[in-house]
């Protein structure tokens, strides 16, 4: 077939088949990635809408825009939608799904049908959660803390819990698929030490998905059982222990942070070498740091509980371990910086997002040191300091990385170029809007502004106004790419196979790739990031 290809309409995964059925029953990892892309984008804008309502309510100290109960539902559902229906699937299920087989030279994931099943589970979970939203919502906070969630909340806790339970299985199946694929499906010559670091990051992520998610599933089932059948597990009135819930919940939900950030780090580790025209600095250390983050990430959960009533000595141990996980994160930042040294750097949109990632992740990471320091955590725990910190990691880090990746691989995914100048503008808007939204929250937090407050003392207002102003800028920065990506699908310049002059097998096939990815199974004889032997693109793609 390929021999008969005509240049403008080469056969690829997008045009090989048409019709709704060819999408809903597809087992092509690239098409499933696009199904995921559409679903998570939908949920991203729902979560973003909740966030805007939250910020608008906080414009004034009095609770005046929405009712207290509505506000409580808004921050709960903002958190649950963004974490379980956007961030966790974001890079793995979209970019990972698309790229893992391409990058290792495989035709598809190891279990294509399970891959499709994972999307259907996600959709079922999403419908359940939408139903929960539309029939009244849930107000427990995204953390479901007991006994509030099992004994006191009058909202749809069970529906929300079950939706997230199902979403968890979608995540487990994706992780399983990646682990098996990376072990078994690598092209000849693609040794472990030649794998792109994006793959290493996804491997580490998959391990967390496989080992952590079942614990969340079990915990949610226990919450549902206690709420419906009054089994005494977490509620002291029934003989349970509320701290047990927190241990179980954070045993998943702390590593879940690394599910969100590790793939983003993987993206940045592809983008920085490409636009510096350099092999990555310290390949082995960057690869191992992903694994170390995944392993240590499982040993630090109780740092969410320093004021919860755990013993003095367990707090000391968890504080110490939390500092250990900071080391591999620091290693990555230093290695990205060193990769630029003596490079030949261009400032395309993905690189701008990668810069944004490094800057914001560094700030998020450094403020993590504050929170791991026991004495300081007592004061800033459950305040806006924590809110700011984790948004620097999850939005400044994870979402920036996701945007970097979407721009970097968009030519490969869609076969079209997006308008470069719009891309750069959006990256700048997101960076500025993000800092304006979340930096004031660090100050608010140290002043003592508690999180999840519908109304607040008037002296906090100025900082809240700044934050709300920033959130509208941020919203513009997120809507823009959505518009020009859609625009580019019809009007964008046709993308060459390797527009960035990047290394990696995904760039050696056509854009968009054919259904089975490669005309012939590639044989790898070179190291990853072999930029010494790849010419820089003659012409950096120019905006139309």
């Amino acid at each position: 077939m390929a021999s008969a290809a005509i240049i403008p309409e080469r056969e690829n995964y997008l045009n090989q088949e048409y019709g709704i059925k060819s999408w809903l029953l597809t087992i092509d990892h690239k098409r499933i990635a696009l199904l995921y892309l559409m679903s998570i984008t939908f949920f991203f804008f729902i979560g973003g809408f909740f966030a805007l309502l939250i910020r608008l309510e906080l414009l004034t100290p009095a609770g005046d825009l929405v009712a207290a109960d509505t506000y409580n539902k808004l921050f709960t559902m903002h958190g649950q939608v963004m974490i379980f229906f956007f961030l966790i699937p974001s890079i793995p299920a979209v970019l990972g799904n698309f790229l893992v087989p391409l990058m290792i030279g495989a035709k598809d994931l190891a279990f294509p049908r399970i891959n499709l099943l994972s999307w259907y589970l996600y959709v079922i979970a999403g419908i359940l959660y939408l139903h929960c939203i539309l029939t009244g919502g849930v107000d427990t906070g995204w953390t479901f803390y007991t006994p509030f969630s099992t004994a006191f909340s009058n909202t749809k806790v069970i529906e929300a819990g079950l939706a997230i339970f199902v979403a968890g299985f979608s995540s487990i199946l994706t992780g399983l698929n990646f682990v098996v694929t990376i072990h078994r499906m690598r092209a000849p010559g693609m040794t472990w030490s030649r794998l792109p670091l994006f793959i290493w990051a996804h491997y580490a992520t998959s391990i967390i998905m496989l080992l952590g998610t079942p614990v969340l599933a079990i915990t949610l089932v226990l919450v549902v059982l206690e709420r419906t059948l009054h089994l005494g597990i977490f509620d002291p009135a029934l003989g349970g222990d509320p701290l047990l819930f927190q241990h179980l919940f954070w045993f998943y939900s702390h590593p879940a942070v690394y599910i969100m950030i590790l793939p983003s780090m993987g993206v940045v580790t592809e983008v920085v070498p490409c636009f510096s025209r350099k092999r990555v600095f310290g390949y082995k250390f960057v690869a191992m740091s992903s694994i170390m983050i995944a392993v240590f990430g499982f040993l630090v959960w109780a740092h969410h509980m320093f004021v919860a009533g755990i013993s003095l000595y367990s707090a000391l141990v968890f504080s110490l371990l939390s500092y250990l996980v900071a080391v591999p994160s620091a290693i990555k930042v230093f290695n990205w910086t060193a990769t630029m040294y003596k490079g030949s750097i261009t400032f395309s949109t993905p690189m701008l997002y990668a810069f944004g990632f490094i800057g914001l992740f560094t700030m998020g990471g450094l403020t993590g040191l504050f929170l791991s320091a026991l004495g300081v955590d007592v004061h800033v725990h459950d305040t806006y300091f924590v809110i700011a910190h984790f948004h620097y990691i999850m939005v400044g880090g994870a979402v920036m990385g996701y945007m970097a990746g979407m721009h970097y691989w968009w030519p490969k995914i869609s076969g079209r170029m997006y308008p470069e100048s719009w891309g750069r503008l959006a990256a700048l808007i997101v960076f500025l809007g993000f800092n304006l939204t979340f930096f004031p929250q660090f100050v608010l937090g140290y002043l003592g502004m508690p999180r999840r407050y519908w109304q607040y003392p008037p002296e906090f207002q100025v900082l809240h106004v700044l934050s709300t102003a920033g959130s509208t800028v941020l919203a513009v920065g997120y809507v823009l790419p959505m518009l020009y990506f859609l625009w580019s699908m019809r009007y964008g310049k046709i993308a060459p196979d390797n527009p960035w002059g990047a290394s990696g097998l995904e760039w050696m096939t056509s854009s968009p790739p054919p259904t089975f990815n490669f005309e012939q199974t590639p044989v790898v004889t070179w190291e990853a990031y072999d930029y010494a032997n790849i010419p820089a693109p003659e012409e950096v793609p120019i905006e139309r």
Binding site: S276, F285, V327, A330, A338, Y453, W454, Q455
Partner: protein
């Protein structure tokens, strides 16, 4: 709107300055690290921007550098850890002889019982310079006692006591927040900590009639019939409670633990599994029969039973050394 725009929280407790010191250190360290990394990135971005005819120089990496930038941060991190741990250790260890205040949290208010018998709602009056230990529990969901001006925060759990302590240093009125989300009116579960000069505080204390907490407990002790078994002449069917607080207790099941506030509380409400060695498990369950405030009064009374009397041996006195209640 702009007349009240603080950038630093009030500092009104003995421990606050320690927390601020570490915080300022961390801010400076972070600022330095950000400046260093961002400057490097900027310099590289400008100096090594793509230019015609200039190729990137391929560098594999440097193990020496990797070790350097792993080990140096690690050393700094351990220093921060130790500093933070030292502050936390202080925060979690109430000094001997601290005045005790019982706090009961419920949706959505704070109820306070002073040893002297005063009761307050959403207010806590304390004198400057006195160590105050808070013994807290919740009637429903988890709450959290947070006073930014004191830099203290402690979750308040149903079914057990948690403790915190502070020593106020500056008269004034400071905010009390509930910091653990607890439902509809979470953001209204706020109060005032009123720090007063000792003389004013004495005046406040004597402002109204009040029965000391331990005395209320003593009355309950006889009203509820506790006294029939827990006799002080060693002839009762239950253990003698004089001086039991803070002492190790051997249990029927072979375990041994310290009789802290949580142990006494649990024994009052439901002694199953906590029975003292050598005594029959015949104590009725009081769960549901006593309010949290009544349990507090009983605990305060039982603690007062250990109070050293003139002429008592030092051994008994040692047994009443205030101990931090175990919260696990």
């Amino acid at each position: 709107m702009f007349d009240n725009f603080p950038l630093w929280p009030a500092r009104a407790s003995a421990g606050a300055a320690n927390v601020d010191a570490l915080y300022i250190f961390l801010v400076l360290l972070s600022a330095f690290m950000c400046a260093a990394i961002f400057t490097l990135i900027l310099v590289f971005a400008v100096k090594y921007r793509r230019r015609a005819g200039v190729q990137a120089e391929q560098i594999e990496g440097s193990t020496a550098l990797e070790i350097t930038w792993s080990v140096i941060p690690m050393i700094i991190f351990m220093f921060i850890f130790a500093w933070g741990a030292a502050i936390y250790f202080q925060e979690r260890t109430p000094p001997r002889g601290a005045a005790e205040v019982y706090v009961v949290a419920k949706q959505w208010m704070w109820k306070v019982q002073h040893e002297e018998g005063q009761r307050e709602i959403n207010e806590l009056h304390v004198p400057v310079g006195r160590d105050v230990k808070l013994v807290m529990t919740s009637q429903d969901a988890i709450h959290s006692f947070f006073v930014p001006a004191f830099r203290i925060k402690q979750d308040v759990l149903p079914g057990r006591y948690t403790t915190a302590w502070f020593r106020a240093t500056k008269p004034g009125t400071y905010q009390l927040f509930c910091a653990q989300y607890c439902g509809t009116s979470h953001s209204s579960m706020i109060g005032d900590i009123v720090v007063m000069e000792p003389a004013q505080y004495q005046a406040w204390l004597s402002g109204g009639p009040a029965v000391p907490l331990a005395e209320s407990g003593q009355k309950l002790f006889s009203d509820m019939g506790c006294i029939t078994c827990h006799r002080s002449d060693l002839q009762g069917r239950g253990p003698n409670l004089v001086g039991v607080f803070g002492k190790p207790v051997a249990l029927e099941d072979g375990r041994s633990l310290t009789a802290d506030e949580n142990y006494i509380r649990q024994c009052i409400l439901n002694s199953r599994g906590q029975v003292v060695k050598g005594f029959p498990a015949i104590m009725p369950v009081f769960q549901g029969l006593l309010s949290e405030e009544q349990v507090n009064a009983l605990v305060a009374y039982i603690k007062s039973l250990g109070a050293p009397q003139p002429g008592q041996t030092t051994k008994t006195a040692a047994a009443v050394t205030p101990q931090e209640p175990k919260v696990q």
